[in-house]
């Protein structure tokens, strides 16, 4: 597949098989720079597996992934992190025994405090870094309107707040592309709107590219263009949400005939 400037991520004929089960079965897609791309599809369509392969958690059976023209197939997650590729999890992950602020402060890599030598002999430098980090973490917590949770243990906050914290993690570094796996799952409307606002602001102000897996069509409609629909491990259709909604195959596989016959039912 030819690489061009506007493509941030190119996925080329990706396969991921678990034994006989083909979770991702020849998926090819591109993610444009600066876009908020929605990824929809029925449960078991292979969306999360695709995320896991792109993010380096799983090794693909075959196929390749490119980021900015560089082949990143099989590169481990923490190396991708340093390249600016970040992800969140369907079920929010957190360092449960640490405060929300500490959770955020853990994110940036390459700090001098990481080595044993500096722990003992570079205390001044570490203190300066920590102060800058703390300020940044506080800023992020404020942005996400959860500054009152700064000192709470992350294991004790609600599921929705954990989702916000996950989003906050992506703001601690200069991410290029962020993969959000069902940020809206189990989150109430108000909080979902806050998350949506945050995503749009990050996209516009900081130029983050987003790929969003989501089942909430209103949320997708508000944020995402284009939308990619997956089914059975393959890309079924791609386009604006309106185009996707009108696509016969997508209705068949995902949205269901209920939507098509709505008028008749309502009559």
């Amino acid at each position: 597949m030819v690489h061009s400037e506007e493509h941030m991520i190119v996925v080329d004929d990706l396969h991921k098989h678990f034994g006989g089960f083909h979770a991702v079965d020849g998926a090819s897609l591109t993610i444009d720079r600066g876009s908020i791309t929605g990824l929809i599809g029925p449960n078991g369509a292979g969306k999360t597996t695709l995320f896991n392969v792109i993010a380096g958690v799983l090794k693909p059976t075959s196929g390749s992934v490119y980021m900015d023209g560089e082949n990143i197939t099989g590169v481990p997650p923490h190396d991708l992190f340093h390249k600016g590729l970040l992800r969140t999890f369907q079920i929010a992950h957190e360092f449960h025994s640490m405060s929300c602020r500490e959770n955020l402060m853990m994110v940036p890599g390459g700090q001098s405090g990481e080595t044993l030598w500096n722990t003992w002999f570079g205390r001044k430098r570490i203190a300066d870094e920590e102060r800058a980090l703390k300020a940044k973490a506080d800023e992020v917590l404020e942005f996400l309107t959860i500054e009152h949770l700064s000192d709470q243990k992350a294991g004790q906050i609600s599921g929705g707040q954990k989702k916000l914290l996950e989003l906050g993690r992506t703001m601690m570094v200069d991410a290029k592309i962020v993969f959000l796996d069902e940020v809206g799952a189990g989150v109430n409307r108000t909080l979902l709107n806050t998350i949506g606002d945050a995503i749009i602001r990050l996209n516009q102000e900081r130029g983050y590219t987003f790929v969003v897996i989501e089942h909430d069509m209103d949320f997708i409609g508000r944020l995402c263009d284009p939308v990619i629909c997956m089914a059975e491990g393959r890309v079924l259709a791609e386009g604006t949400l309106a185009e996707i909604k009108a696509n016969e195959q997508v209705i068949e596989a995902y949205l269901g005939t209920g939507l098509k016959n709505k008028d008749q039912v309502g009559a």
Partner: protein, 336 residues
């Protein structure tokens, strides 16, 4: 007077030995719990890591003694300890690079790593006995007692003597310093926090700026340090015999599990719970009861609940009881 005698006897035979033994178990259990929390397997080789680290220290001690170096009233082993620690760090990092890393990269199941560590145990065990022999080795020198029983008796006029061995004092002080340093490290430094983050959630840690290989390396270095210190303290207090460290593995694991695997505070608490259970259940209480009871009620037997031969069984009974009521240990561990 009898009451004071009873208290002194209690301190002499139960409290002081219990605290010293508890400190040794706690240091050992901390090493086990760190490996479990961060590398996610039960490291059976820990007992023999203690043996090897202690062995290196013993050899250095002998070398220093032959040079005439000494610390005056303190044992020369303290001078040799840093060299023992360096040896153990080198050994564990070498083992990790050549053995554990292979399985870690393959994401092997914990049970496989446990068996691998059992293999390492036998290798370490063999190496230790090959180098220093299977017998008891004495490497203690310096002042034997901080307070000796005879001095105590003449000073206080009591019938019961209280002896406080130098090794017991060193054990307790060292344990306090080491534990304080460890907790400072885990809670206050970036490297320590990375370790906790890795222990909390490995997947997320991998998706952060945490370098997993560095976390693993630092963990092994700390584990080697803890193991060597625990091994040397135990060796100073009792005597150095390779096989006893293999046996120590049982109460050490019991301590770590009772406290909650993966939880450092639990490891310390567990160490003392196990140590005091062993000491109180295998101690012959006759002496203390004779002081406390009226003459007509004085016991004829030893009032020893279990013979010391069964002391390892005690740890396991305590372990079973605790796990029945709190399956994740006294302090919440990562489940067993």
């Amino acid at each position: 007077m009898d009451f004071l005698n009873a208290i002194v006897a209690l301190a002499n035979y139960v409290l002081i030995p219990g605290i010293a033994y508890g400190s040794q178990l706690a240091l050992g259990a901390l090493g086990v719990t760190l490996v479990y929390g961060i590398l996610r397997f039960s490291n059976f080789a820990h007992g023999d890591t203690m043996a090897l680290g202690a062995m290196a220290t013993v050899l250095m001690t002998w070398l220093f003694q032959s040079w005439g170096l000494s610390l005056g009233p303190l044992p020369t082993a303290l001078l040799a300890l840093p060299f023992g620690i360096l040896f153990a760090i080198g050994l564990l990092l070498f083992t990790d690079r050549t053995v554990y890393k292979f399985y870690r990269v393959k994401k092997a199941k914990p049970v496989i790593l446990v068996i691998v560590s059992l293999g390492i145990t036998f290798i370490y065990n063999g190496v230790t006995r090959f180098i220093i022999g299977a017998d008891d080795q004495n490497f203690f020198d310096g002042e034997r007692f901080i307070i000796s029983a005879r001095e105590f008796k003449t000073a206080t006029g009591l019938d019961e003597g209280l002896s406080f061995k130098t090794t017991q004092g060193i054990t307790i002080i060292t344990a306090i310093i080491v534990v304080a340093l460890l907790f400072w490290f885990l809670n206050r430094t970036r490297a320590g926090k990375s370790m906790r983050a890795y222990s909390d959630n490995e997947d997320l840690a991998l998706l952060s700026g945490i370098n997993p290989e560095r976390v693993v390396m630092i963990t092994w270095m700390i584990v080697a340090t803890l193991a060597t210190i625990a091994g040397v303290l135990y060796g100073l207090d009792k005597s150095f015999k390779p096989f006893t460290y293999f046996q120590l593995l049982l109460p050490i694991f019991a301590s770590a599990i009772v406290g909650g695997l993966g939880n450092p505070i639990g490891a310390i608490a567990g160490g003392f719970v196990i140590a005091f259970s062993e000491v109180t259940i295998t101690y012959a209480w006759k002496k203390i009861l004779v002081y406390l009871m009226p003459e007509s009620l004085e016991p004829n037997g030893l009032v020893q609940l279990l013979s010391t031969d069964y002391k390892f069984a005690v740890s396991f009974v305590i372990l079973l009881i605790v796990l029945l009521f709190k399956p994740t240990g006294l302090f919440k561990g990562q489940s067993v």
